[in-house]
């Protein structure tokens, strides 16, 4: 009898939960429609930088901004290219991949840069920033037939940044070290059990790793042609052509959002969003946000550097010429929103 009562209670809870969820979903839909404002669907992955986009609604009072999160950039891409999403926030490697595949995507604004952290396992006795010592360790491990293992999530800006950074110090990322594909979520475990000696996570995973003592900060991989370029806001080409007013509003919203993120109130709201969506602790979020740089510009030379690096790594099919890249990066909405020149917001020649 007791088992039956427990089973009945569980069943009731499941059914009740489903009904509540359905009602809540329906409620939000009716609320949105009753507002009678144009709706813009904004999507972003769940990294610390990306979740700043959840605050875009506060900067676009004339619109109902519906924010969606995606666990993978590729899923977001599919939604964007198919028109299910109006505005997407992706990273620059994603943008270059889009351009290589001639997907109808156009970048219209920068968002937040930085957030990459090259960390070493605590057992690796190399002082932070001492690339000479690091190179010596790499050579020693390579000579011993056991190249130093670096965990990197392939396909990300962090991966590309490190592949550009290492040669600056005479280290070939393809032959001198063993770069292995490990999702951000698995990097702490991999460092902890000695499977890898280094990792290149993004925030807030990097903060969780350093604060949790699974790894120690070694360097920020920004001393290369792509700099700290990370996130970019894109729209579908059809959306750009057919909804110029919305695109202008988005560019204006981004122009207001980026300075807001640097304020105390903006930092608080941003931290709350990261905590809400990722479950990251307040301490880790604080560490993470300190390493992020809100930036509206889209520096073209750095986009070209990322494109060239991806081609060199055989990750895209063509060495994309400037003209092709420019078909997918539109500086006009941003220049109009900021009141600055095209070159001031990153166009070639700046």
């Amino acid at each position: 009898m007791r088992f039956k009562r427990v089973a009945a209670a569980v069943a009731a809870a499941l059914i009740g939960g489903t009904v509540v969820a359905a009602c809540s979903s329906a409620g939000s839909g009716s609320a949105a429609s009753s507002a009678a404002k144009p709706t813009i669907v904004v999507a972003a992955p769940e990294c610390a930088h990306c979740l700043a986009m959840s605050l875009l609604s506060t900067q676009m009072p004339g619109y109902t901004v519906k924010f969606e999160t995606f666990s993978t950039l590729t899923a977001l891409t599919a939604g964007l290219a198919s028109g299910a999403i109006d505005v997407g926030q992706i990273d620059y490697t994603g943008l270059v991949s889009f351009i290589d595949k001639d997907l109808p995507i156009v970048a219209i604004s920068g968002e937040v840069n930085g957030g990459s952290d090259f960390v070493l396992a605590p057992s690796v006795q190399v002082p932070a920033g001492n690339w000479t010592a690091f190179k010596a360790l790499v050579e020693k491990d390579k000579a011993a037939g056991n190249p130093l293992k670096i965990a990197s999530q392939f396909g990300t800006v962090q991966d590309i940044e490190l592949r550009l950074e290492l040669p600056k110090y005479g280290i070939n990322p393809n032959t001198d070290v063993d770069m292995v594909n490990v999702p951000y979520q698995g990097m702490a475990q991999a460092l902890h059990n000695g499977s890898v000696q280094a990792a290149i996570p993004v925030q807030p995973f990097a903060a969780a790793i350093t604060n949790g003592k699974f790894g120690v900060h070694f360097a920020y991989p920004y001393n290369q042609a792509a700099g700290d370029l990370t996130n970019v806001v894109v729209v579908n080409k059809n959306f750009l052509a057919q909804h110029p007013a919305e695109v202008a509003a988005i560019a204006k919203g981004m122009t207001d959002l980026v300075p807001y993120l640097k304020t105390s109130a903006g930092q608080t709201a941003w931290a709350a969003a990261v905590e809400q969506y990722t479950g990251t602790s307040a301490a880790d979020v604080k560490t993470a946000l300190a390493q992020l740089t809100p930036d509206i510009d889209m520096p073209f030379a750095q986009i070209q550097a990322i494109s060239s690096a991806m081609y060199a790594q055989k990750l895209i099919t063509t060495d994309l010429p400037e003209s092709t890249l420019l078909q997918h990066v539109d500086y006009a909405p941003l220049a109009q929103a900021t009141g600055e020149s095209l070159t001031a917001v990153g166009a070639a020649g700046s």
């Binding site: 198919s82 292995v180 698995g186 059990n193 055989k314």
Partner: protein, 317 residues
Amino acid sequence: MTDLSSPGGRTDPASVMLAGSGPLPDPASVDAVQAAMGETGSGRRPLGMKKLGTRTGRIGLGLIVPVLVLAGWQLVVAANLFPSALIPGPLTVLDTAENWLGTRQSPSMFYTGHMFSDIGATLVRVLVGFALASVIGVALGTAIGVSRLVDGLLSPLLRILGPIPPITWIPVAIVLFGIGQQANFALTFVGAVFPVIAATAVAVSGVGRDLLRAGRMMGDGRAGLIGHVVLPSAFPGIVGGLRIGLGLSWMMAVTSEMLAVHNGLGYTLWNAYNYLDYPAVFAAMIVTGICGLLTDALLLAATRPATRWHAETGVRS
């Protein structure tokens, strides 16, 4: 190994019970059933069925739906319902597969010319993970099927663990095994073992008591009954579980290859996915499917001698 197909040495109780015992059926009802199944009263099959009985006929029949799917796929692409970069056409995928195979060198991609080494790497992961899952799964499933005590001890935990998506074991695998082959083997094992256990337990627990009585009458003890009666009788069901497990081994091996490997079908698939190279993603999906089909055919061929009696007593027309 016990000869399950031929009663030449020791009489197979399962075959005896299924083929020759029990009350004789009503001839009229047998005719009706045979007619419903497409057979003539004399046991001959209609002309169409006879053609399908040949190897060529079966292959031809099996190709009909894939060809229709390919045609439908091409139609969808030709209709431009989706961006071609997201849903590439069959010919584009074929071009990419040639590049992967190495018969085309341009463009030079990270996977160019690596198809066979990728297949080999994944195959090793599948075989090791599946072999472990088969041995442990059949042993545990048999124990659960024959013993209420073991059933009571293990089934609740297995029912909790079974529905957990294997991909969520990745962090656990990293902690327990580090990154490398062992983690891949472990993840492939986890993907395959639960259906093997479940199918074996169901098949074993479903063995008829009459068969067990027959085995006892022939002098078998508990171990002998399991070896001579229970497992042979349950084997068709166990093979069903192994086939599901083998398919899941491929799925999980490919999934696990997102983690710290340098080759494999999954390595190519996930990398291509990360860089939005959908023709390569589709090519990897298709090659994985074909590999799964071939290994399934091998498994069927290897187990057919032990399951032929079941096929011959089945209802399939």
